[in-house]
């Protein structure tokens, strides 16, 4: 568990929930206001889209960032970023180039107050297997992660399943390196039976992970994407067994933030997104007994 977070399971939101609306009819401060409305203080940003001037934000923007976080009592939790293996045509990024991107993001994430990073690695196949050299540059980045106190976390996202080989490779790496600064963000979409929110097309039925599959991985999980595809009028998520998963996390004394991440339809509709995220947090409050 990364050091600065208080024990227990807490609610938060990812800026991903409104991504098509930013700079159209929404700003970062608007999402902070909505978070305050809901008493959801944990924040995930996608650094590249949210930080003006990324990767070199101005001093002025950073000052505004700190004052907004203070004013709206925001807890920076997860800094989403990418290691761009396909940056150049015709070849994959080498270890040095990957490291340069990664170290820059570790420093910026730490400076902005984040304790976790959602480290998206380049992939080489349909099962989202990461680029072959991932161990080389992650290992060399670990001292920086430790120095700047941020945990690098690839995201475990459907169609990947919690029991896939890739997960075992990650766990093996963590145990071998004896590190607390590499883990993973489990996206609750791995448990979904319907990743469209409107019913999977015939022949495309999903084979989701079971709630108990999360148990062996919990020690390595520092925050989760509380994915939701469809919140109904009774404040229930209709595609994911939320109560079972959260109960298991409580029973195993997991500490960290559940960061709401909407991937259902109509993301261009402000009022729809607003209603969906609020319904999600009414459900989370009820499940967490707040």
């Amino acid at each position: 568990m990364s050091t600065s977070q208080k024990p227990g399971i807490h609610r938060g939101v990812s800026t991903y929930c409104w991504y098509p609306l930013y700079n159209v009819n929404m700003t970062l401060e608007d999402s902070f206001e909505i978070m305050k409305d809901m008493g959801a203080h944990g924040l995930e940003i996608l650094a590249d889209g949210i930080i003006e001037g990324y990767p070199y934000p101005s001093k002025e923007w950073l000052n505004k960032w700190f004052s907004l976080c203070d004013r709206y009592e925001i807890v920076p939790v997860e800094y989403g970023h990418w290691v761009e293996s396909k940056l150049y045509r015709g070849r994959e990024l080498n270890v040095e180039e990957s490291l340069e991107q990664l170290i820059h993001d570790i420093k910026l994430a730490s400076y902005m107050g984040f304790t976790c990073m959602r480290t998206k690695l380049g992939v080489i196949d349909d099962k989202l297997t990461p680029t072959k050299i991932w161990r080389d540059f992650i290992r060399r980045a670990l001292p920086y992660a430790e120095k700047y106190n941020v945990v690098m976390q690839p995201e475990i996202h459907w169609p990947t399943r919690l029991t896939d080989q890739m997960i075992l490779d990650y766990v093996e790496f963590i145990e071998k390196e004896q590190t607390q600064y590499f883990g993973f963000n489990i996206d609750f979409g791995v448990f979904t039976t319907d990743a469209t929110g409107m019913g999977m097309p015939p022949g495309m039925e999903l084979n989701p992970s079971k709630p108990e599959d999360i148990i062996p991985l919990l020690p390595y999980v520092h925050c989760c994407h509380a994915k939701y595809y469809n919140m109904d009028e009774n404040f229930e998520e209709t595609t994911i067994p939320y109560r079972e998963v959260v109960q298991i996390m409580k029973d195993h004394n997991w500490n960290g933030y559940l960061l709401s991440e909407y991937e259902g339809p109509h993301k261009e509709d402000y009022n729809h997104c607003m209603t969906q995220v609020k319904r999600h947090h009414v459900m989370l409050k009820r499940i967490l007994g707040e």
């Binding site: 159209v24 290691v83 690695l121 349909d126 993301k267």
Partner: protein, 146 residues
């Protein structure tokens, strides 16, 4: 502010040389996504107006005030097309576009290392589009040259 659609109405006009002759037109495009693109990951298919396709060889691309040819973007792995900015595509077309309404489309995108399929090269026979996200639209718009 950006308009929601991929193709922007703001900025759609003819462009003129010093002698005041129309040498082409410009149109803004935005990335309906959650991250900007490194220029080396920007992929361009075409700008299409009333059925006529203009490919990269007849276009230049203005980002944060700086104009690039498509080839110039290939090696720029540290220059960012910011998410909150419309890229202005300047298209060479002697005489520019006639006054009145035009059907304007665009095909463009960015490479995403974290998704499995290919190098992101765009097939110019593809229909207009940007990122393939379900909630992105507005890659074809009826727009007026005044």
């Amino acid at each position: 502010m950006l308009e929601y659609e991929g193709v922007q109405y703001k900025g759609f006009r003819n462009i003129y040389n010093e002698e005041g002759e129309a040498t082409g037109f410009q149109v803004g495009i935005r990335m309906i996504g959650y991250r900007g693109a490194w220029l080396s990951e920007f992929r361009f298919g075409y700008i299409e107006v009333d059925g006529e396709k203009f490919l990269a060889d007849r276009c230049t691309f203005v980002v944060s005030g700086v104009e690039y040819t498509y080839e110039e973007t290939f090696n720029l792995g540290r220059v960012k097309w910011p998410l909150n900015e419309a890229m202005i595509v300047r298209v060479q077309k002697p005489g520019g576009l006639a006054q009145g309404s035009h059907t304007v489309s665009a095909l463009y995108g960015q490479v995403a290392s974290y998704v499995p399929f290919g190098s992101g090269e765009l097939d110019i026979n593809q229909k207009p589009g940007g990122h393939g996200h379900s909630e992105s639209f507005g890659y074809t718009r009826e727009m007026i040259i005044v």
